[in-house]
């Protein structure tokens, strides 16, 4: 028992567990919109595109969240611009822009040595997180949660039917920018917890898992958020014993839950759909048999 409680004797572990839980929850909350809007690639792009901002911010001594945020938004604007002005498809545009930004960031960090470590940006370093960074993350998370809680219905309508949103006089542009901004800000916050490479997992997996489990958006939000918080807390805790990467632990845990759900989900899981298909074939045969009793069994089956 004492052994299981050892992580809680270390201040840095307690912080890491709490911060991971918070960030995991916020990411999961947004992941519902990300999966339904088809923005998974966008999330991936944003989380990579913030890296040059982080390095510039450190070089000139600004808060890293500010730099990251600005560079995320610049990347989103670039993507929007290229997509609307050229014939290149969206996935290619996203691919080009985010790798360019990421490369620029990696280059800057390696050319101008500073106190930031490339590894901690790419893979996260929640155990060594500074108190000032925790404050930033808490602020970002609180604002994001507040906006989502207050405006989730508008965001939902915007994701489901932007035309209707516009027809009843909602400002669709503002909603779109709000969602993108929240996404960028959350990516910044999650960067420290799991690193640029794994942020997208936190922004997609919980939403995708919850989507398999329910047909109601509000339930989907609860399931996703619960899963985000749970896996992040447990993942961070387990990383102490495994002596492994916190981000890795969290994401592996999320993926295992996703796989289990994929298999066992009551209606949209693989097994359930297989059974449902089999049942309806059986019903069809039964009906056919009652209608044409003269047809021999061999022909019917």
């Amino acid at each position: 028992m004492d052994y299981l409680l050892t992580p809680f004797h270390y201040d840095y572990m307690v912080k890491a567990i709490l911060v991971s839980g918070l960030i995991g929850g916020v990411c999961a909350c947004l992941s519902c919109f990300v999966t339904l809007k088809g923005w998974s690639l966008m999330g991936d792009a944003l989380s990579h595109a913030i890296v040059p901002g982080v390095s510039i911010a450190y070089l000139v001594g600004l808060p890293f969240a500010l730099g990251a945020f600005v560079s995320g938004i610049v990347a989103a604007v670039c993507m929007g611009f290229i997509k609307s002005r050229t014939r290149i498809r969206e996935d290619a545009v996203i691919g080009i822009v985010f790798t360019t930004f990421f490369a620029a960031g990696v280059l800057m960090i390696s050319v101008f040595p500073s106190n930031i470590n490339l590894k901690s940006i790419v893979f996260g370093n929640i155990l060594g997180i500074a108190d000032a960074d925790i404050v930033q993350m808490v602020v970002i998370s609180t604002v994001t949660l507040l906006v989502v809680c207050l405006k989730w219905k508008d965001l939902l309508l915007h994701s489901f039917d932007p035309n209707q949103a516009r027809a009843i006089g909602l400002n669709v542009g503002v909603l779109q920018v709000t969602l993108l901004t929240l996404l960028a800000a959350t990516s910044v916050a999650a960067l420290q917890a799991v690193g640029a490479c794994l942020v997208v997992a936190m922004l997609v997996t919980p939403g995708a898992t919850a989507y398999l489990l329910t047909d109601r958006f509000s339930k989907m939000m609860f399931i996703a958020t619960g899963m985000g918080v749970g896996t992040s807390v447990v993942g961070a805790y387990a990383s102490y014993f495994l002596n492994g990467s916190t981000g890795g632990c969290i994401v592996v845990l999320q993926t295992s839950i996703f796989l289990l759900t994929l298999l066992l989900a009551p209606r949209h899981g693989l097994i359930a759909s297989r059974l449902a298909a089999r049942a309806s074939v059986a019903r069809f045969r039964q009906r056919a048999a009652s209608r044409h009793p003269a047809i021999p069994e061999a022909v019917r089956s």
Binding site: R85, L150, K153, F160, N163, Q164, G169, R216, F217
Partner: protein, 292 residues
């Protein structure tokens, strides 16, 4: 509230829409509709039907000309919830995790507070709208679990709940069985009698004379508009569709030289329009089975 029940007219004057790639989708389109009409918007694919819809919805800004609703710009009209929209089935993500009830309530968002909490009145309106399209028993279904006709009725209920005075329907009869088509037409007639303006974009030429009193025929511009009897003619349709329309003249007469029994069938691959020599038009009896 009194305003939303007043009579509202729609005026489209000299609307020209060009997209950023330089394509002019619509030029100098003009027509106007009075309250209490069902108007069909007829034209081939790419004739600018959806662009015209977008202009009325305010999604595209005309480079020239204007759309006015009760004399107001579209933006004001939207703020007042005057314009309701029933999307084409293909434009809806049917696997989205929302129920029938959720969708109908979305029509009330414009009346709700900052948090979009439905009031008792909002709920009552939504319930009434669902009853009106006979979908109450499907209230809690996820929208993907409905048949084609039921799906259409849900979105119609949303438009009803919104209490829009102008209702735009994009291809309402695609993927809908004949019975539902009848229900929808019946409902549209009731709404017309309440003073609504209903603008229906359709490929189903056969049903147009059956329930539309006005027609707007377009191909990059408005070719003709006005009352169905005078505007929905073979000449105007040929003008709009050119060779794009199946055009069959059937004659099973025993009297050579007489066109007494000749019938003309015009079809855009959906409901066919049947014209008798005396000019009377008939709706087809069936739907897809009648495809020629």
């Amino acid at each position: 509230m009194t305003e939303s029940h007043s009579q509202i007219d729609l005026t489209v004057s000299d609307v020209t829409v060009a997209y950023s790639n330089g394509h002019v989708a619509l030029h100098d389109a003009s027509f106007s509709l009075k309250p209490g009409t069902i108007c069909a918007l007829v034209g081939i694919n790419g004739s600018g039907k959806s662009t015209l819809f977008k202009a009325i919805m305010g999604f595209v800004r005309p480079v020239r000309g204007s759309v006015r609703i009760a004399g107001q710009p579209v933006k004001t009209a939207h703020k007042k919830n005057w314009v309701a929209y029933v999307p084409q089935s293909e434009d809806v993500d049917w696997s989205f995790p929302v129920s029938v009830w959720d969708v109908v309530l979305m029509g009330r968002y414009g009346y709700m507070n900052f948090l979009r909490m439905p009031s008792a009145h909002d709920k009552q309106r939504a319930t009434e709208s669902l009853e009106r399209v006979k979908m109450s028993e499907f209230k809690d279904r996820q929208i993907g679990e409905l048949s084609g006709g039921q799906k259409k009725r849900v979105f119609l209920a949303r438009a009803l709940a919104q209490e829009g005075r102008i209702i735009l329907l994009d291809e309402p009869f695609t993927g809908v069985d004949v019975k539902t088509e009848g229900t929808i037409i019946e409902l549209l007639r009731e709404l017309r009698d309440d003073g609504h303006i209903i603008l229906v974009s359709t490929h189903n030429l056969g049903t147009v004379p059956e329930f539309c009193d006005q027609v707007v025929i377009i191909n990059q511009t408005v070719l003709a508009w006005g009352a169905t009897e005078t505007t929905f003619t073979e000449e105007n349709l040929s003008l709009a569709f050119g060779g794009a329309l199946r055009h069959l003249r059937l004659d099973h007469t025993d009297v050579p030289g007489s066109n007494r029994n000749e019938i003309l069938v015009l079809t855009d691959d959906e409901g066919a329009l049947v014209v008798r020599p005396n000019g009377s038009k008939q709706a087809p009896v069936g739907k897809s089975s009648e495809k020629l």
